[in-house]
Amino acid sequence: MLNFYYFLLFLLNFLVILIFLSFNPIHSVLFLIFSFCVAALILFLLNIEFIGLLFIMIYVGAVAILFLFVIMMIETKIHYNVNYTFEKFIYTTFFVVFFYFLLKIYYVGVYDNYIFTYLFINFLELFDKFNNLIILGQSLYTYFFPIVIIAGLILFEALIGAIILTINLNKNQAVINKDLRQLSRKNDILKYYI
């Protein structure tokens, strides 16, 4: 199981490098969805099932699909700089490998000499066995209930803000802009007229 965990960490790093390197935003959004799924799998391996499920529900089901909707609505023009890719790939792999070994040396000095890592006994599991969901619910709705209300207000504000930003109150302007928008769909048409 530990080998599978290390494989997932490697896959997460690799996917993030691919997000950084891809020119097409559709590819980067697809790699983003895949990296969220890999992060949720890592959380499943760490016995945090509820937040892993929330990762799949919110990040993959809401945020990444919102990105895909915007890409479908907006035609993005891609600039392929093929000469740059290999250099960028070398630089990023060098960055990742260098910081992996540097931080490995640093964190071993900080955390691995910590005495309590070897003496840790989970006393809750000796008396009672709780799910992750039960522990989260009990602490969230007893001690942190004002923060839950504030988070709900923030989500409500985001909903209203997104609607107000994208609503078009001035309807005459939309009619005028239609021709320009049709022309701007294809780059090459303007070249023939000019």
Partner: protein
């Protein structure tokens, strides 16, 4: 195991930062970079909540999740307004200084 998770979180955070920094294509990539940074912070909170045996890290990760969802919704709405004004999302100097 703990150390390797911390290192991957560090690398994800800074690669998300570099996607914002070395972005010559579209404005949409910056939002993806911000999402990656928030993902790495989430994983960091969760791994420290396991390490210290404290539930507060997981609760913080829940609220970071809500902030990420709200931020992406408003950011994409702003992107659509940007597209209405300028008909593209390029951030080259040519498209910005065209007027």
């Amino acid at each position: 195991m703990f150390i390797d998770q911390l290192i991957t979180n560090f690398i994800i955070f800074f690669l998300g930062f570099f996607t914002i920094l070395f972005n010559y294509n579209t404005l949409l990539i910056t939002l993806i970079g911000i999402e990656l940074m928030l993902l790495s912070i989430n994983l960091n909170f969760i791994i420290f909540s396991i390490y210290l045996d404290d539930i507060f890290g997981q609760i913080c990760s829940l609220f970071i999740l809500t902030i990420a969802a709200a931020e992406s919704a408003i950011g994409l709405a702003i992107l659509i307004i940007f597209f209405k004004l300028r008909f593209n999302l390029l951030i080259n100097s040519e498209s910005v200084f065209r007027g």
